[in-house]
């Protein structure tokens, strides 16, 4: 059965209906790229998956647990779903290693020595081993984002959500972050990414989902979607970003 299973998901902000019924299943190990114009609801959808926004209607199943705001504590949820933000959101007063160790120690009650071992391991994975005692203000954007990825991985989540992980980066720093994500994909990590990097979506993802006006307008394998869009909206979108 699917790792993530979303049925008929609705979400409104006041009068504005942002999600108008989303259905999506994601298998373990799958990499799904969500594309679409700003305002299409893709970020909101992602934020519903880890309950940063609470949906109004429909169901989200994670493994065999149903998310309804009460079934899982935030602590349990964070061990299932990790999140990487557009603006990194590292904790400025904590060193790199402390950023990564915080949640395992505080939320999971992992002993410090063990948490440190895990932190060093995930930091090595993102290529940040030589900066573990630096503070975020001393790092480039790309480095900060790699630490943020490590921080999410330290909770050993089943699925990692990336909300425009490279949008805030200078162009020359985008590559290092995408390489880390690509490595994770190769290792079999389940990834759901909202992205503007069409080349990345095409090369790395197994499936691309095009969102338009709060609905999934079209979805399928990247080669089909990008070369033979079925709807004028998607064709137009691809033409505008390529």
């Amino acid at each position: 059965m699917a790792l993530v299973s979303v049925k008929d998901l609705h979400k409104s902000f006041g009068e504005l209906e942002v999600l108008k019924g989303i259905d999506l299943e994601v298998e373990a190990g799958e990499v799904v790229a969500i594309i679409g114009r700003s305002g299409s609801g893709k970020s909101t959808f992602l934020r519903c998956l880890n309950q940063l926004e609470h949906h109004d209607w429909g169901t989200i199943q994670l493994a065999d647990q149903r998310l309804d705001g009460t079934s899982m504590t935030p602590g349990e949820l964070s061990q299932n779903v990790g999140m990487v933000f557009q603006s990194f959101n590292l904790f400025p007063h904590k060193s790199v290693i402390d950023n990564v160790m915080l949640a395992p120690v505080v939320v999971k009650q992992t002993p410090k020595s063990e948490a440190r071992r895990i932190a060093e391991e995930v930091l090595a994975k993102v290529g940040m081993s030589d900066k573990i005692d630096s503070y975020p203000a001393q790092l480039s954007g790309g480095q900060q984002q790699r630490v943020a990825i490590a921080r999410a991985l330290a909770m050993n989540p089943k699925v990692l959500l990336c909300d425009e992980a490279t949008s805030a980066l200078d162009p020359e720093l985008v590559g290092e972050v995408l390489r880390v994500l690509e490595d994770l994909a190769k290792e079999g990590m389940t990834l759901i990414l909202v992205t503007h990097e069409m080349k990345f979506a095409r090369d790395v993802s197994h499936r691309v989902v095009f969102m338009h006006q709060g609905r999934i307008h079209e979805s399928g394998p990247p080669e089909t979607l990008f070369t033979r869009p079925q709807t004028p909206e998607l064709a137009q979108f691809i033409a505008s970003v390529v």
Binding site: L52, G75, S87, N89, F91, P92, V107, Y135, Q138, A152
Partner: protein
């Protein structure tokens, strides 16, 4: 007009005793007042998440009452008022409580500004990592909030230290009390107050230096640049 400071010399012990009292009152007040402020700020911050509770309203009232009445009146209220209600209280304890309540209220308000400027991203990152509100407040919100308002915090602690001169009015043997005491013996009021005022000035400068030293250690993370 002649100034005669030599008439102060026999009273060095009194000045020292007063100085020691002023210093320890300030140290205890700073620690306890800031701790009180953190608790008050945390509870009041809860109103942001789940609406104002009775407790957060009461704490808001406490902050406003302290900020809008003179310290000397707060002191008299505690020192004269509590015994009248059947709660005996010594001058020193009354002074200490009044000072802590005073610094606590001002610092809570200062800290609130720092807490409110925490970005949404920081809150969301903490939540996404599974931190509870208390964990997030302690590990994510508090230190950066302090670092943002630190200059105001220093000023406030100095204001409370200087304001503590008023505790002499309920016979706590602080620096000002020592000055009054000496003045009543040698009738050299101006000289005495000049010397004691200078000591207060040095204390204020010293307190600022200590705070700045601690701040540089505590908030080293703010200094960016390459590692």
């Amino acid at each position: 007009m002649t100034l005669d400071f030599s008439s102060l010399l026999p009273y060095t012990d009194q000045i020292l005793e007063g100085l020691v009292t002023t210093v320890w009152l300030t140290v205890v007040t700073t620690v306890a007042g800031i701790a009180l402020a953190v608790v008050v700020a945390y509870v009041r911050d809860g109103a942001r998440v789940r609406g104002a509770s009775l407790v957060s309203r009461l704490l808001g009232g406490y902050v406003e009452v302290i900020r809008n009445t003179p310290f000397i009146v707060q002191l008299f209220f505690l020192f004269f008022g509590l015994p009248a209600l059947g709660v005996p209280i010594s001058a020193t304890v009354a002074a200490l409580i009044a000072m802590i309540l005073n610094l606590g209220a001002y610092t809570a308000e200062i800290l609130r500004a720092g807490i409110e400027s925490t970005t949404r991203g920081q809150h969301e990152a903490a939540r996404a990592l599974g931190l509870s509100r208390l964990q997030s407040f302690r590990h994510v919100v508090l230190v950066p909030a302090f670092s943002r308002v630190y200059p105001s915090l220093i000023s406030q602690c100095i204001i409370v230290m200087l304001g503590s001169a008023v505790v002499s009015q309920i016979s706590v043997f602080d620096l000002t009390y020592a000055a009054n005491f000496i003045q009543s013996r040698n009738f050299r009021g101006f000289e005495v107050y000049l010397v004691v005022t200078a000591i207060y000035l040095l204390l204020a400068v010293g307190l600022r230096l200590v705070f700045e030293f601690v701040g540089r250690r505590l908030f080293a993370f703010r200094q960016g640049g390459s590692a």
